[in-house]
Symmetry: C2
Subunit: 185 residues, 2 copies
Amino acid sequence: MTNPMSSSESPKVLFEGRHVRLVKRGQWEYAERKSVTGIVGIVAVTDDGKLVLVEQYRPPVGRSVIELPAGLAGDDAAHEGEALEQAARRELLEETGYEAARMEYACAGAASAGITSEIISMYLASGLRKTGPGAGDGSEKITVHEVPLDQVHPWLQQQAGLGKVVDLKVFAGMALIRDDKETRR
Amino acid sequence: MTNPMSSSESPKVLFEGRHVRLVKRGQWEYAERKSVTGIVGIVAVTDDGKLVLVEQYRPPVGRSVIELPAGLAGDDAAHEGEALEQAARRELLEETGYEAARMEYACAGAASAGITSEIISMYLASGLRKTGPGAGDGSEKITVHEVPLDQVHPWLQQQAGLGKVVDLKVFAGMALIRDDKETRR
């Protein structure tokens, strides 16, 4: 019997979907995105201290989700080979209408390493200027929220009370902002 | 043509794995766990102010991952119908050897709502007492880390520099601890 923990176990594709494949590695089964070179999440704060969040219906959870602006790099021919920072700028503009004077890499991390291979690169965006309409690339239907930093936690609780789902990366973003502030002191 | 955003779109199973199924809803493909009634993540802080983290090899990302103690509720016959708080206590003990005097629900949220239906219930554990060996249920190979709260961010950076992956829910946990502290003031 093979060791399910072995890192030398090579992945085997169980099912090839159009955008996602189901893969088996040892005894583990997980989802992997196809044709994607990276995933970016953007922690964007306006000059007057508001966190920029997006809300959209997400079929995997069957509900509206409050989340950080985010998206895929290199997910179609037009974006092939796209750098992560460039993807972060494009997604922020598409989803929220904001351009950022500063787009700084914060960290990269797993979203849920037990069920997906996704690694998300987190960026801190500041010096925001509204230059576009936001609300997505046309296939997306997005609502933008701007929430004062000191009210984010109670606001999220309120939104959850309305039956919406909060993406846990919003909380991760809050920790990264605080860490960034402390570092600059 | 159907509307890919429609919430009435019923899910269709593309592939039924042993633990995970690949599902299609409208134009979306995503992974769903089978036989699981909930997922818990535990933000555990020792009386001397250290965050308890676990490290294990995760086949989906092919690397060691630093993450919060976490696990599935109701994932086998022995745990069927298990309450979430009970699952949080069991996972904390199995993975870290700690029993918690206080295990408080903080929030629930999506891990990555674009690719998985996972909703994770987050608990804050305190009043920790070491009563077991930790290190997993036998099928897991887990290393426990205890990191002073004010050193978590630089420590995670250092671990990433060693080639490990950090789960973004660790940062989410840090924000939940700070929020909890502020609420209690």
